[in-house]
Every structure is written in structure tokens, then in C-alpha cells.
């Protein structure tokens, strides 16, 4: 059940982020919307690795190495999400830097007024 709740939350965040990115005209708001969608994707991936009644993939007194396979949840999605979070942060910084540069050049953050790539 927890996995379903987490997954539903993640999907909801993806949809909110998508809606925000498509309806907002301000570049900064679009960037915020993208990070929300990004968080949603991460939550969905972590939820896929969840298994009821199991614990974190760290071996200690409670999880001896010999019975690790029966006691831990899937560690692969967690490793993937760790990567995704860090890359997401780098991409956000990059988007912000480009938004700053665009504002410096055009004096506007309104996507409707940046028409160079429109045909």
C-alpha cells in the first residue's frame, strides 16, 4: 500500500510539474515546474524498488550478510535515483544560468516574447 501511495504522489507531482511548465510564461516558474516533475520521477523510481516488510539495503547486526537477499529492498532504484538527483541539480543550475543570461540580453523572462526560434 505504501508503495502505491508513494507512486501516486510521484505521478501527481509529475503531472503538476508538466502542467506548470506548459501553462506558465515566466522562465523561472517553468524551471521550478521542471524541478517538481523531476522530484516526482525520483519518487516513482524509489517506489518501484519498495517491498513490503523489508528494510534498507545496509548490512549490519539487524541484516546479516547471509540473509541479505531476504531482508532488503531492491538497491538498484536507489542507486539510480541518487544519480538522478545530482544530475537534476546540475541541470537546474544550468537552466538558471541560461535564464539569467537571457534576461540580461532581452530584459524579459516571458517565453512568449523570446521569438527567435519561432517559425
Amino acid at each position: 500500500m505504501i508503495a502505491q501511495i508513494a507512486m501516486a504522489t510521484g505521478f501527481a507531482l509529475i503531472l503538476i510539474g508538466l502542467y506548470g511548465a506548459l501553462t506558465n510564461h515566466n522562465l523561472l516558474r517553468m524551471i521550478v515546474a521542471f524541478t517538481i516533475a523531476d522530484t516526482g520521477v525520483n519518487i516513482v523510481i524509489v517506489a518501484v524498488g519498495y517491498m513490503a516488510g523489508r528494510t534498507a539495503p545496509i548490512l549490519d547486526a539487524a541484516v546479516p550478510a547471509a540473509e541479505a537477499a531476504q531482508r532488503i529492498i531492491d538497491p538498484v532504484p536507489q542507486a539510480l535515483v541518487l544519480t538522478a538527483i545530482v544530475i537534476g541539480l546540475g541541470i537546474t543550475a544550468l537552466m538558471l544560468a541560461y535564464a539569467y543570461k537571457l534576461y540580461q540580453k532581452k530584459r524579459t523572462l516571458d517565453i512568449g516574447k523570446l521569438t527567435e526560434l519561432k517559425w
Binding site: 508503495a3 502505491q4 507512486m7 501516486a8 505521478f11 509529475i14 503531472l15 508538466l18 502542467y19 506548459l22 501553462t23 519498495y50 517491498m51 513490503a52 534498507a56 539495503p57 545496509i58 548490512l59 549490519d60 550478510a65 541479505a68 537477499a69 532488503i72 531492491d74 538497491p75 538498484v76 536507489q78 542507486a79 541518487l82 544519480t83 538527483i85 545530482v86 544530475i87 541539480l89 546540475g90 541541470i91 543550475a93 544550468l94 538558471l96 544560468a97 541560461y98 539569467y100 543570461k101 534576461y103 540580461q104
Partner: protein, 232 residues
């Protein structure tokens, strides 16, 4: 209005897809083949108590090297894109004076935050933590310093030196694995030690500390670049 309706229809369609996925989802009762391999082989082969760390640093070490490269590239591009705006007068005062609370608080907290960051990446093979998390904590200390003193100037040369040395040492350790052990980034160039001890898991603490330094330096350089942009 039509635009908004189209977007809403798109989001609803996507929501329908997600709802179907969610309805058909059943959590696995057992680990799949890959996860089972990692669960069974981490303790004898890698010696790391944290299996996620074993996957990131050793099993998929090459991917992590690529990830660090992506991060390096994005930090470089942020620096490059914002380089034009770095012409701030030294005499300029901060527009809003920062409060006594923030100044004193940051003096007290920054060393503790840095210490926590180092603790998190040194213990990456034992606890839920590691180089990326520790590096982010270190960079949050840098962010607090920047908040307390917005005109603070960080030495880009120092940040670049830390970052390049850490990155270079990371690759050197990887190549040593090729020469002394089973392959690129193999952690068995150092003794595996006892599971759960600080000096265990071969080269993993070393590699993750280097990753922590590198990530901390990259995030700090991004923050410094963003804070040094001139007011618009």
C-alpha cells in the same frame, strides 16, 4: 483559453496513462536477479556494508565517473555562461544588511556543517550517505556563508584546484584497479577489512571521499558563480 484547455487535456491523458500503470502495479515479493546478485555478493566481494554504495562506486563505478563528468561539465558551463557578469565594485554594500542572528549563526554553524559533510562522505560505505550527499552538505555550508556575507569572494582558483586534484586522483585509483586488481575502479587494491569497520571495503572510502570533495567543489563553484552575477 484554448491553449490552457489543450494543456489540460494533455495532462489528463497523461494522468490516465499513469493511473493505468498504478492500477496494474504490484510490488515484487522477491528481489529480481540483478538485485539478488548485489545482495548476495556485496559482502564477500566488495566488503561494503551499504549495498547502494557498493553499486554506485564499484559495480557501476564507470557510470559514476560519467556522472561526475556531467556534473563537472554543468558547473563549467554555469561558470562560462555567467563569466561576463563578474564586474562588481568592491565598495558596494549589500542592499539589505544581514542580521546579527544570521552572521553569528553562520559563524557557529558553518564549521559544524562542513564537519557533517565530511563525516557523511567518509562513512559512505557504512551509513546511508556518500560522496554526493556529503558534497551537497559541504556546499550548503558554503551557501550559508554566502547568505551571511553576500559580497564574500571565494577563490575560484582554490575551488578549481580541489576539483581537478580530486577528479584526477579518482581516475588514477581507477587505473590502479586495472593494474593491481580485477579491473577499472576495482576496490580491491586495498585490503577489504572487516565488514562494518571504517577502514573496510578497499578503496571505496577513498574514492567516495574524492567524489565528495569534487561534488562539494563543483556545487560551491556553481553557487559562487551564481552569487557573483551582477544585479540586473
Amino acid at each position: 483559453m484554448i491553449r490552457r484547455a489543450v494543456v489540460l487535456a494533455l495532462v489528463l491523458a497523461m494522468g490516465a496513462i499513469f493511473a493505468t500503470l498504478l492500477a496494474g502495479y504490484a510490488p515484487d515479493g522477491d528481489l529480481n536477479l540483478t538485485a539478488r546478485y548485489y545482495a548476495d555478493r556485496t559482502a564477500p566481494d566488495i566488503g561494503s556494508a551499504n549495498i547502494v554504495t557498493a553499486i554506485i562506486v564499484t559495480y557501476r563505478g564507470l557510470d559514476t565517473l560519467g556522472e561526475v563528468t556531467v556534473l563537472f561539465l554543468s558547473a563549467t558551463i554555469v561558470g562560462l555562461v555567467l563569466a561576463g557578469g563578474r564586474r562588481r565594485e568592491t565598495a558596494q554594500r549589500p542592499p539589505v544588511p544581514v542580521g546579527e542572528l544570521l552572521t553569528t549563526g553562520s559563524r557557529f554553524l558553518v564549521p559544524l556543517i562542513m564537519l557533517l559533510g565530511v563525516y557523511v562522505f567518509v562513512n559512505g560505505h557504512l551509513t546511508p550517505g556518500g560522496g554526493f550527499q556529503g558534497g551537497a552538505v559541504v556546499a550548503s555550508g558554503v551557501l550559508l556563508m554566502l547568505l551571511a556575507d553576500p559580497l564574500k569572494h571565494f577563490s575560484h582558483r582554490l575551488i578549481a584546484a580541489v576539483e581537478s586534484v580530486a577528479g584526477f586522483a579518482y581516475v588514477v585509483i581507477g587505473v590502479l584497479g586495472l593494474v593491481l586488481a580485477g579491473g577499472f575502479l576495482d576496490n580491491r587494491i586495498l585490503p577489504l577489512g572487516e565488514l562494518g569497520a571504517l577502514a573496510s571495503a578497499g578503496a571505496i572510502p577513498l574514492i567516495y571521499s574524492l567524489v565528495g570533495l569534487k561534488v562539494g567543489a563543483e556545487f560551491s563553484s556553481m553557487l559562487a558563480s551564481l552569487s557573483e552575477t551582477e544585479e540586473l
